[in-house]
């Protein structure tokens, strides 16, 4: 016999948060995804369709001509897209590798070693995250000029590393601090030195944290505009994010082409975020629960 349970005030109250949550999630999704979908819609339209009013909420005759022009066209645009895509990958991968290596060493030192001024140095490094980018732009530009590193991969990567190192160190410090120290002590008892303990004991355990840090660094580097804009002086080092802006004419805005270029630029971070989002969340929450 089926029991019918009449709704109680309590059940009613429980149901409400679910509805509110669902509405909230839908609103959030609309808020975040609508601009991307709008750009996708425009990228599949011709110039005339994109300019028409009222706007087309779906492309009337979907076509990939804008993508083809950007990727396979004969002119300067396709060449620039190809070169700047290579540039952005090189710069982001190099910045990520260097940042993660340095951050791991720094985080381990701050988490496990005892030395004078440890906390002061750690918080000083973190404090640099509060500086707006514009405050360091000119000094960094002058330093890079002095070192002859303007318009080089090295210069751009070094600036990225200096910018992302504090956050990466913080994430890994939180992660390493949460690991049991007894395993490292066991390694030391077995005769391993600091670097051996770090390499053979700590890093395997901290791998999820390292992956999170690498992802967050890579995504942050991918989204950079101001620093590479100033530090790149031609197509040899200009990343895709900067190159896209040059599609704007002085008195014309090719929205369909710009939208297609935008979609290409977000493709890599979107795939990473989609498939590896748990690492990103882990990284951002590292150390929040002990």
């Amino acid at each position: 016999m089926a029991l019918s349970i009449p709704p109680t005030p309590l059940r009613g109250r429980r149901a409400r948060p679910g509805v509110v949550r669902s509405v909230g999630v839908v609103l959030l999704l609309v808020w975040t995804l609508l601009p991307v979908l709008w750009a996708l819609d425009l990228s599949l339209q011709t110039g005339a369709q994109a300019a028409s009013k009222p706007a087309h909420y779906l492309p009337p005759t979907p076509q990939l001509a804008n993508y083809a022009r950007l990727l396979f066209g004969d002119g300067d645009i396709a060449e620039s897209v190809r070169q700047s895509s290579v540039n952005i990958v090189i710069e982001c991968v190099a910045a990520t590798v260097v940042t993660v290596v340095l951050a791991t060493l720094a985080a381990y030192a701050f988490a496990r070693m005892t030395f004078r001024g440890r906390n002061a140095l750690f918080y000083l490094a973190l404090a640099t995250m509060a500086f707006p980018a514009y405050t360091t732009l000119i000094p960094l530009y002058r330093i890079m000029t002095g070192l002859g590193l303007v318009n080089t991969y090295t210069g751009i990567v070094l600036v990225y590393v200096s910018g992302f190192l504090p956050l990466a160190t913080w994430i890994l410090h939180s992660y390493l601090s949460s690991l049991p120290i007894s395993l490292e002590e066991a390694g030391t008892m077995d005769g391993a030195n600091r670097m051996q303990v770090l390499w053979h004991v700590v890093l395997p355990l901290a791998l999820p944290g390292v992956v999170s840090t690498a992802l967050i660094t890579f995504l942050s580097a991918w989204g950079q505009f101001l620093f590479p804009l100033v530090l790149s002086t031609d197509m040899s080092t200009e990343p895709l994010t900067v190159m896209i802006s040059s599609l704007l004419g002085r008195h014309t805005v090719p929205v369909n082409l710009l939208s297609a270029a935008g979609m290409l630029a977000i493709a890599v971070p979107a795939v990473l975020a989609l498939f590896l989002n748990r690492y990103i969340v882990n990284g951002l929450l590292a150390g929040s629960v002990k």
Binding site: G47, A48, A51, S52, K53, D76, L137, I138, P139, Y141, R142, I143, T145, G146, L147, G148, V150, L226, L229, V230, T233, D234, M235, V242, S245, S246, L247, L248, G249, R250, H251, T252, V253
Partner: protein, 444 residues
């Protein structure tokens, strides 16, 4: 053992000190490290502009003539302004030739960020044929030469006007307004006038042009606001623009439309019948181009309607200048002289061979070149444009744009945008703009 530890610590200390000293030396020694060279042959100069590169055939010709190779980089206008500012502030080389927009002339001259072109080129000789040279002169310095002849004009879709029974083009603001009302009343188009009310630079320039049409200018010779009185041209221009929204002559959606969007998405697609402050050259480069327009052959330039005086078309040109951090200033000057010459610009605009045509080039800066194009039938409505260029163009600020221009412009476009959106009246907008202008002019 302790001795070794102390020695190791000392070594580390020395190493750290050395590293710090090195960094300080690098940082302090980073003033303009580019060596300046007077070479005018056998060098490569960097030209960074917000435009596609000119035809290869033309650049090759320049290299053959001078021995100077040109490396051209295209950066969008806004980003280029950031690069110019960053490089100048950091006293760092980034280009030998770059953009000098009319709106930044006062700032560049005052801060000494660009070489005085009169040190390299005989500017007095050019004056008669380059009407817009005044827009690049401030504090007695010529910080650039005009690279094109951009100025503001009024465009009308004559087919739409004809459908409303209007065949005689308006010459006064009153006639123009009445004609737009007629176009609307006859149902030819719901919103006949394009005013780009988005909070952006294009809105400011629209107001300057309208102010000129009402017979005045925005600032006095002493850079004080000339638009505070309800009788002033600037005040009337702002009122006219806001009233056009209230009267339904301008679409309410235009509060989010920039100047280029209005021209491309409204004027070029027949959604509006007129743009009071349009760009010279747009008929040829936008409205008569089948790929970008549905109104080919319909849009004409008309002498800017006024409140009674002579028609006035305000300059809005981009120029080319030499940053003081350039490596090859003399070679850069040779390039600018070549690029801005009448002979080269005629070829860019269509009087040369097909491989010399610069498709995105708007209008030559030289009167003689515009005349040659008009005579050669290579310029849409060339005769009209030439007449306007010769007789009615004028700088927006006769004494050059003030150093604080960007702050003034921001106050102009944010307040006129707010007035169009209905959150303040035209009077309130004008008062706020005036307050900002007074504050800026006083240097506080």
């Amino acid at each position: 053992m302790k001795l070794f530890a102390t020695a190791a610590r000392r070594r580390r200390g020395v190493l750290a000190l050395g590293l710090a000293a090195g960094l300080v030396a690098v940082a302090s020694g980073c003033s303009n490290s580019a060596a300046v060279s007077d070479k005018t042959s056998g060098v490569t100069i960097n030209v960074v502009e917000s435009a596609e590169a000119p035809p290869k055939a033309m650049l090759d010709q320049f290299t053959k003539q001078t021995g100077i190779t040109v490396k051209w980089t295209n950066v969008d206008w806004d980003s280029l302004q950031t690069k110019i500012t960053a490089a100048a502030t950091a006293k760092t080389y980034f280009a030998d030739v770059t953009d000098v927009d009319w709106s930044r002339v006062g700032q560049f001259a005052k801060l000494g960020w660009f070489y005085d072109m009169s040190d390299y080129v005989d500017v007095d000789k050019l004056k008669a044929d380059l009407p817009q040279l005044n827009s690049f002169t401030a504090d007695g310095k010529v910080v650039g030469l005009p690279g094109d002849a951009m100025f503001m004009v009024t465009t009308v879709n004559t087919k739409m006007f004809a459908e409303a029974g209007i065949t005689k083009m308006p010459t006064t603001i009153d006639e123009y307004t009445q004609d737009l009302k007629t176009v609307k009343a006859k149902g030819v188009v719901q919103y006949p006038l394009n005013i780009p009310f988005a909070a952006a630079e294009g809105l400011s320039t629209y107001w300057y042009e309208t102010t000129g049409a009402f017979g005045g200018s925005v600032l006095t010779d002493k850079d004080e606001p000339a638009f505070t009185s309800p009788d002033s041209a600037g005040y009337k221009a702002a009122e006219w623009m806001i009233q056009a929204v209230k009267d339904g002559l301008v679409s309410p959606g235009e509060i989010n439309t920039t100047d280029s969007q209005g021209q491309q998405n409204l004027m070029a697609t027949g959604k509006v019948a007129s743009t009071f402050s349009d760009y010279a050259g747009n008929v040829g480069t936008l409205y008569n181009v089948k790929d970008t327009s549905t109104v080919t052959g319909q849009v004409k330039y008309i002498p800017t309607p006024t409140s009674g005086g002579e028609p006035k078309n305000l300059d809005n040109p981009d120029g080319m200048g030499i940053p003081v951090t350039a490596k090859y200033p003399k070679a850069a000057a040779k390039f600018i002289e070549w690029y801005t010459s009448a002979a080269v610009q005629e070829k860019f605009a269509g009087l040369g061979s097909a491989d010399q045509l610069y498709s995105t080039f708007s209008l030559p800066a030289h009167l003689t070149a515009v005349e040659a194009l008009a005579n050669g039938d290579k310029l849409d409505q060339g005769a009209t444009l030439k007449q306007m260029f010769q007789n009615s163009t004028a700088p927006i600020f006769p004494g050059g744009a003030p150093t604080w221009y960007s702050s003034l412009s921001k106050a102009v476009y944010t307040n006129l945008h707010a007035a169009a959106a209905g959150s303040e009246t035209a009077d309130q907008a004008i008062k706020k703009i005036a307050s900002t202008a007074k504050q800026l002019a006083s240097g506080s």
